[in-house]
Amino acid sequence: MNKIKKSVKKAGLTLFVIMLFILIPAISAGFFDGFKKDVRLAPSQDTEVAISVGNAAPTIVSVGAIPATDPLSGTTKSITFQFTAQDSNGASDLNDASASTSFAKSGEPTRTGTCSFVSTTGNQKTYSCTVTMQYYDDNGVWTKTVSIQDAAAATGTDSSTSFTYNLLRDIIMTPTLISFPTTIQGSTNLLSTTQTSITNKGNFNTPTDGSVQVTAFNLKGAVTPAQIIPAANFNAGDTSATNVCTVAGGGTILSDGVATNIAGAGLTKGASGGGTIKYCLTLVPTGISDQNYVANVANANIWRVGI
């Protein structure tokens, strides 16, 4: 009996050793890996890692503010500001030559500018930009756009900021002499022999920003100031008036000391912007003496053309 037990033990031991020889290489070769649920690599175990890294587009970090800006009469105005761009691939990835800017307003030509590199901080670059505005560019809010590309031509753009371009009233009046023909008491409807030519050196235009106005004053006798030709005896109108001597013809009756809007008088803006005002003396009063009738500093009755 003991002999049988010994044989069974011996056979079991032999089988264990055989299984050991079979299992050890199998485990070592990962034969049972499919049955494992958690696999943890030992810290010192080598492994291969492959990550695909794509290009990151530049972003605009900040755009410098532009205060409300005055146009410059009859010429251009250069407006300078800075913006900062960032590229997570590194500042060197930003293409300096591609930095650009523009100002835009609905109904107006877009004004483009130029930008140049200023400095680098980390993965950011700062650029200085200058845009040239015309004196006749519309007053109001203009949108600033800045953009830049990286080496892969990916673009970063920002149009979230704006600035105000102010309203410039600036006109030049010519000629220096406006005259009426010689006349006598009781005469009617005398047209001025010259007209007031207005050159617009600003960005004011009618009717959007207002009207052309004439403030007339009674003409006083140079010898007898008590005698006058009333301002209300004068009409004014622009070149569109078919007969400035009548209201129906497009003329506007002037009033002593009152800024009177001239009906239909247009003042355009632009490189050749302007307008023209002509006048009519509708009635020379009777009962006034023969003398010059004047409006001057001494009599505090200078006429004014305004906007």
């Binding site: 146009p71 009469s73 007053n139 105000t164 600036d170 030049i172 007031t196 023969d290 003398q291 010059n292």
Partner: protein
């Protein structure tokens, strides 16, 4: 012949008016940060100085007359909240754009949000010249002041 000439002179001196409007080339300008559709927004009790830029042909263009411009400023409306603090009379040197009219605007403490005040002032050129009838330039600057929360 002499008789005819005398008659002509008589007509000139007795019946004839010569009316001339002598103007000078005026070339000053004023730039405003506010206008009818671009109101100044302020709060109750707030005080603010506003600048209006005066110019006299800074481009030195050929159509300007080389001379300084004398202008006078007159506040016409809004005296309850606004006053000109930089003076009434200005001489704008030719070729410049660096002079300003300063207006102080102060909103009273009893103003209410939503109130609108209108401010209006004129800037006119004046000329100490002779001649018959002079004509000058006048700009009317007008803008609303809106009280906000």
């Amino acid at each position: 012949m002499i008789r005819k000439y005398k008659l002509y002179l008589c007509l000139i001196f007795i019946f004839v008016f010569f009316i001339s409007l002598i103007s000078y080339v005026s070339a000053f300008g004023i730039s405003s940060p506010y206008w009818n559709t671009n109101p100044l927004e302020m709060r109750v009790g707030e005080s603010k100085d506003i600048s209006f830029n005066l110019q006299n042909c800074p481009a030195l263009s050929a159509d300007c007359v080389v001379k300084d411009e004398n202008v006078v400023v007159s506040l016409q409306e809004g005296k309850k909240i606004a006053r000109i603090t930089s003076g009434k009379f200005y001489t704008i040197p030719f070729g410049t754009a660096d002079q300003f009219i300063i207006m102080k605007v102060k909103i009273p403490s009893n103003a209410k949000v939503g109130d609108i005040y209108n401010v209006r002032f004129s800037v006119a050129s004046y000329e100490e010249a002779g001649g018959s009838i002079n004509i000058g330039v006048e700009y009317i600057i007008e803008f609303p002041v809106v009280i906000i929360a």
